[in-house]
């Protein structure tokens, strides 16, 4: 299960190269999260429009009866209402995606954003034109099939609902038939939807010991003891230390002690693991500077091959 998940996650990884030549990893948003974002956006828009209509009703303006009034002021309000309607359905997405976060409120809620799809290798600037293009396409993806449905009841319209559903299905399923999960608007605009990065800087583990006097007890590890592990184990150890679950710490402690052939009591697992982490990192980073990298405990030392990333 977890292996399958990992391979799915790996499928969503893409690389862009900034103009400075630094490759950056981006993760494509899942189709599910995009659907949720879309639904959220429509809920927000409809609730907003409903509230406007309700507020107007409360101050004594019934939009449904304005036409019948035949007064200038009533007509003016109908005009305003139509323009608001048009702006809401077309301007909402454009306005928010053009903002600094590149995401509508719904997208923000699920933590995704719009970005320019790199044409070729290098990452590109997300332009206003691209955002307008990708949102104008919503008109055929969502609103056109709705008009088919609305004519479905009329005489002589034939299988309009069938055409509408087919059309709807084609565009809704579009993201499932390409590698980058692009919808039609993304293709036309040259954009894609990625996960928005938002991670805080965690405290460096290897710095903790200096501040904690309890960890003074010196564990010294020789080269042959540090030889057994690689980068993968180092990162697992870092994760375990950050989670700080006592049972796991004890289990990892026992495994390492057995592996390096030490006899160690219990009670000081955390300090032991932190020193082991620091020592192992020092050793592996030292090797890195000489161009030697070791991916995991099974790997032969890679001398001067291409870097892991």
């Amino acid at each position: 299960m977890s292996a399958a998940r990992k391979s799915l996650d790996a499928k969503r990884q893409r690389q862009i190269v900034t103009p400075e030549g630094v490759p950056l990893g981006v993760t494509l948003a899942t189709r599910g999260s995009r659907l949720i974002a879309l639904i959220l956006d429509y809920v927000i828009m409809f609730v907003g429009l409903f509230l406007i209509a309700l507020a107007l009703l409360l101050v004594g303006i019934n939009l449904g009866q304005l036409d019948a009034l035949g007064t200038g002021a009533g007509e003016f309000l109908v005009v305003v209402f139509f323009i608001v309607l048009f702006l809401a359905f077309n301007g909402y997405f454009i306005f928010f995606e053009m903002g600094p976060r590149g995401a509508t409120l719904g997208k923000r809620a699920v933590g995704i954003r719009v970005a320019a799809r790199p044409q070729g290798q290098s990452g590109e600037r997300l332009t206003a034109e691209a955002i307008i293009a990708r949102n104008l396409l919503r008109q055929i993806e969502i609103f056109l099939p709705l008009t088919f449905f609305s004519t479905a009841g009329e005489a002589g319209s034939g299988p309009a609902w069938l055409v509408g559903s087919l059309w709807f299905a084609v565009f809704m399923l579009f993201p499932f038939f390409n590698r980058d999960a692009l919808r039609a608007g993304d293709v036309v605009a040259g954009t894609w939807v990625v996960e928005a990065p938002r991670r805080k800087l965690a405290e460096a583990l290897s710095l903790r010991q200096e501040s904690a006097p309890a960890a003074e007890a010196a564990y010294r590890f020789g080269p042959e003891e540090l030889e057994v592990y690689g980068e993968y184990e180092l990162q697992s150890l870092e994760r375990v230390l950050r989670d700080g679950d006592d049972e796991t710490l004890a289990a990892v402690h026992a495994a390492i002690v057995r592996k390096i052939g030490w006899q160690a009591g219990s009670g000081d697992e955390r300090a032991f693991l932190e020193s082991f982490y620091t020592a192992l990192r020092a050793k592996l980073e030292g090797d890195m500077r000489f161009g030697k990298r070791k991916a995991d405990k099974h790997a032969e030392v890679d001398r001067g091959g291409p870097p892991l990333r």
Partner: protein
């Protein structure tokens, strides 16, 4: 007991205390500690930009943003080769990416961008798709001719082309007086503004549809143009049959020159996307489509504004003004739009492109 304090949730967080750089045992930790202050400052600037508080940033922060971004990017490149601290690496990856979105994001907000758009961006985009405009124009002209010829041969075609809701009194066999009535001057502006808004909503949707259908290699766009213009041709034949063609054209031209131009441009934008998809040239299909799509989107946005304008013209002058005034307004609008597209936003000779 501590006195209660009110925390300002928007206040900037104080930077955490820095451990002693010299005390760090690992070289990668010293590398991190030396730069951490800059990274955190960059993060703070980026966070404020993301929240839309750009106006609260000092000039110094704005000036430093690109510098800090480049420093972080190079830190990331170095850290990947020298550090195994996964937390630092992940943080840097995210930070550089976030800063990249800000440094290489949309350059201005919607309003400022619109300013540039009207001062030349739109006209340049229209000029860039001149070939597609010719194609769309040919389709529209063919549509008018087809509508006219079909109805002239067999009047039954009229009912096939013109939907009942639009026909009203405008049917073959109607007397000259009845047809003249449909072109008459209304006696007041009552009910017209709402009519205009509805027309605008309808026409804007049709325009966006014409553009969006370009996605299917432009063929449905051309069909849509031909069909809509055939309707026009059929009506023109009808009015001609009772000798009212000049009045009909004047009636139409008030808003028609604006609206038909908008539909022409929308269709051309759709054809442009479709044509670039079918014949991408040296570029890959995806990148050719994206490039064409962005250009076409500019044209389209302009169309929406033209349609707002057309709706206003449609509701008021068309119903209120006499035939001569109508023709003059229509001709004037045609000239104004043409001048806008041909003349505005040209780069002066010798001046380099922005």
């Amino acid at each position: 007991m501590k006195a209660p304090t009110i925390r300002n949730p928007f206040a900037a967080q104080p930077l955490p205390e820095q451990p002693d750089i010299e005390a760090a045992a690992l070289r990668s930790d010293r590398f991190r500690l030396e730069r951490e202050g800059d990274w955190r400052r960059l993060e703070q600037i980026v966070r404020r930009l993301e929240r839309g508080f750009a106006f609260r940033l000092s000039d110094e922060d704005i000036m430093d943003l690109p510098v800090l971004y480049r420093q972080a990017a190079s830190s990331l490149a170095v850290a990947r080769e020298t550090s195994l601290d996964a937390a630092t690496l992940r943080f840097l990856e995210d930070l550089v990416q976030r800063a990249w979105y800000q440094v290489y994001g949309p350059r201005s907000g919607l309003l400022r961008w619109l300013g540039g758009f009207f001062r030349g961006g739109w006209s340049r985009a229209v000029r860039a798709i001149w070939l597609d405009i010719l194609l769309a124009f040919a389709a529209m002209a063919a549509g008018v001719a087809a509508g006219w010829v079909l109805v002239a041969r067999n009047v039954e075609w009229y009912f096939a082309l013109v939907p009942g809701s639009m026909a009203d009194a405008r049917v073959p066999g109607a007397s000259r007086a009845q047809l003249a009535e449909t072109l008459a001057i209304a006696d007041g502006a009552g009910g017209l503004s709402a009519f205009a808004a509805q027309l605008f909503y309808n026409n804007a949707s049709v325009c966006i549809l014409a553009f969006a259908l370009g996605f299917a290699f432009g063929v449905p766009t051309l069909l849509l143009l031909i069909y809509n213009m055939a309707l026009l041709g059929a009506m023109a034949w009808l009015y001609n049959s009772v000798g009212l063609l000049p009045d009909f054209l004047a009636w139409l031209s008030v808003h028609g020159t604006t609206e038909l131009t908008a539909i022409l441009l929308a269709g051309a934008a759709g054809v442009h996307v479709g044509r670039r998809m079918a014949f991408p040239g040296d570029a890959s299909i995806l990148s050719a489509t994206a490039e064409a799509g962005r250009r076409a989107a500019l044209v389209m946005l302009g169309c929406v504004f033209m349609l707002i304008f057309a709706a206003i013209l449609e509701a008021f002058p068309r119903q209120l003004a006499g035939p001569e005034a109508r023709a003059i307004i229509g001709a004037f609008m045609a000239i104004a739009w043409t001048a806008l597209f041909v003349l505005v936003g040209r780069e002066r000779k010798g001046a380099s492109a922005p």
